[in-house]
């Protein structure tokens, strides 16, 4: 289960209709690591994940898994190696948690093969790992946002792939559930060696949980590498267009981004203060 798979995009150009969203993008996923993609709204993060998982055909360039173009692979074979949890998945009205999670087993079943013991075990493990076993008989549309998100992740886990792409899995969750979801994914990565790619909005959580950080801007990879080396005030300024200070997070030892706005600054440094750490954040 811990086979390292190599997923790379080379010279990738994709878009919708006449508009090109991503052009000539190169990305090498680090096998067995957690890669976090950050970038402003509409910079093409979801588009990148879609094209790396066969949802969008490339205009030019290709996405290669273990030496084969994913767009030429049999769909189910790819789905046994590479899973995707889209940004806003749809649950059919009235579906139960166990049924929904069970649908993650689709790529492991043939046209005539029946539900197997292996399917049962995979679903059970996914429910336990996401702490949703108690919800198994509940209808998904009755759950809270946090519970529902864990159920979706359970479905992705039941698919049992070595590579898992998740598009903003923490949106709509409160901070404790965000951390819970990211801890869960980290467990998965540490225990099974699953290669994980997560699109996140919260830069500080991104930095904390990423082994490898990818910063995107306007459909391009602006910078990538270990969070410690690439997260600088300059990067934040040019990717997100906001001045920020970067200090060391006392709890994790990783960099911590402190945005600098026009108000609530201790020493009236103004936007130019981005070059040096602007003292302490105003605590309230």
């Amino acid at each position: 289960m811990t086979t390292a798979h190599a997923l790379t995009a080379t010279d990738l150009t994709v878009g919708y209709g006449d508009t090109t969203i991503i052009s000539d993008l190169d990305l090498d996923l680090v096998a067995g690591a957690i890669t976090v993609i950050v970038g402003p709204n509409a910079c093409g993060k979801s588009t990148l994940l879609r094209s790396m998982s066969r949802l969008l055909p490339p205009r030019s360039g290709q996405v290669v898994l273990d030496g084969r173009s994913i767009h030429g692979m049999p769909a189910k074979e790819l789905a046994r190696t590479l899973g995707l949890l889209p940004q806003s998945p749809i649950a059919p009205e009235g579906i139960t948690v166990a049924d929904l999670v069970g649908r993650g087993r689709h790529p492991h079943q043939g046209m005539f093969t029946r539900w197997s013991r292996a399917d049962d075990v995979a679903v059970a493990e996914a429910l336990i790992a996401t702490d949703t076993a108690d919800l198994a008989d509940r209808a998904v549309d009755e759950l809270s946002g946090g519970q529902r998100q864990r159920v979706w992740i359970a479905m992705a886990l039941a698919q049992d792939t070595d590579i898992l792409l998740l598009d903003e899995p923490t949106t709509f969750l409160d901070v404790s559930h965000q951390v819970e979801v990211l801890d869960l994914l980290t467990d998965l990565n540490r225990r099974r060696g699953t290669t994980i790619v997560i699109v996140l909005h919260d830069l500080n959580l991104a930095v904390r949980y990423a082994d490898h950080l990818v910063a995107m801007r306007d459909g391009e990879v602006y910078a990538s590498g270990s969070p410690e080396t690439i997260l600088t005030p300059e990067l934040i300024e040019s990717v997100f267009g906001i001045s920020a200070a970067v200090i060391t997070d006392p709890t994790s030892g990783k960099p911590l981004m402190l945005p600098i706005g026009r108000h609530h600054m201790v020493d009236r440094g103004g936007p130019d203060a981005a070059d040096g750490p602007a003292g302490h954040p105003a605590s309230d």
Binding site: L55, P89, P92, E93, A98, H106
Partner: protein, 347 residues
């Protein structure tokens, strides 16, 4: 993770309670349909005894009662298969379009079949059951492709709403073509009108036999699509992520539904609302898993059409009201209820 914990969760997952409930409902549905079918053979302008029924099934037509039964047998069988086809086709279409309002009527498929048949009658001397079948299937298929193409235009592809709108508009246009063609033609308007209202009264074994292959293929293709429809229900992105080729799956499942609708419409005329109402009722009983929903919708659809036919014979004794009129009267309020409920819950 401990083995015991895994086994516990396995217990949760494989606790077969839902499966048993579904099986129970399925058994009840089959029993009710069998009763309705029996009632359909017994009830009519002439009362018959059980002995007459048995004799008639054995092929005897020695007295008027037996003869009446011999006439009601194919009619009952036709009502059963037409209902099965429409109920199943409705469930498949709702799955293909992920649209709870999808129905062979709403998506224009029945009207496509109707227009093709009316054109055939008006200009090509169409009159045999086999001719009706092929023409209706082609018409249904063309309408389905046309509606899907229109619904896919623009941003976001074939969304449920765009499909429903495209279907409704196409249906309205085709219906007016049907009227425009048949109205001025005194020579054919009688044939067209009686066929358009829809009925199973004129059933004979030959036409049932001719529609059987269409139905068989349609049922097979539809049932084999069940698990794929389960994946489609999660949305195109997730379905693709699960290894589904969504376009191929849609096309194949839709073909199954088109064969079913085409065959049913060719023999019994456009019968409204069965394909819409039946899957909704079934979803309440057996849930959203298409492996259960599809066969269940077929059985309940058969029951609904037989029941409507029997009702049509009872209310207008000694005459009868056509089955298409009864299903419309029964179905329209349910349709309104569905739309209203969805407005409250999800719009």
């Amino acid at each position: 993770m401990t083995r015991a914990a895994t086994e516990n969760a396995r217990g949760v997952v494989v606790g077969r309670r839902p499966a048993r409930v579904r099986l129970l409902w399925f058994g009840i549905a089959v029993a009710v349909v069998a009763l309705l079918a029996f009632a359909s053979v017994v009830i009519g302008s002439r009362d018959v005894s059980i002995a007459d029924v048995v004799a008639a099934i054995g092929g005897s037509v020695d007295n008027t009662s037996e003869a009446a039964v011999a006439k009601r047998l194919p009619r009952t069988v036709l009502a059963l298969v037409v209902g099965l086809a429409l109920g199943l086709a409705g469930a498949v279409m709702q799955g293909v379009t992920r649209n709870p309002l999808a129905d062979p009527g709403i998506l224009g498929v029945n009207m496509g079949a109707s227009l093709a048949i009316v054109v055939g009658i008006a200009w090509f001397g169409l009159s045999t059951a086999t001719g009706y079948l092929w023409v209706a299937t082609v018409g249904a298929g063309v309408a389905a492709v046309f509606v899907y193409a229109i619904g896919s235009l623009g941003r976001g592809g074939a969304t449920p709403l765009k499909l429903a709108l495209a279907g409704a508009a196409t249906s309205a246009a085709l219906a007016s073509f049907v009227t425009a063609i048949s109205l001025p033609r005194g020579d054919i308007s009688g044939t067209v009108r009686s066929w358009l209202i829809g009925g199973v009264g004129g059933a004979g074994w030959t036409s049932i036999g001719q529609m059987a292959p269409f139905l068989a293929v349609g049922v097979l293709v539809s049932l084999l699509s069940a698990r794929r429809l389960n994946s489609l229900a999660l949305g195109d992105e997730l379905a693709t992520g699960l290894g589904e080729r969504v376009a191929v799956t849609r096309a194949v499942a839709a073909l199954g539904a088109v064969l079913l609708c085409g065959a049913a419409t060719a023999i019994a005329g456009p019968i409204a609302f069965v394909g819409l109402v039946v899957p909704h009722a079934c979803r309440l009983l057996v849930g959203v898993d298409h492996r259960w929903l599809l066969p269940f919708s077929g059985v309940v659809g058969a029951g609904l059409v037989v029941a409507s036919d029997v009702l049509g014979r009872i209310v207008a004794r000694p005459g009868e009201v056509d089955v298409g009129i009864i299903t419309a009267i029964l179905g329209a309020p349910v349709f309104i209820a569905i739309v209203r409920r969805r407005k409250v819950s999800s719009l």
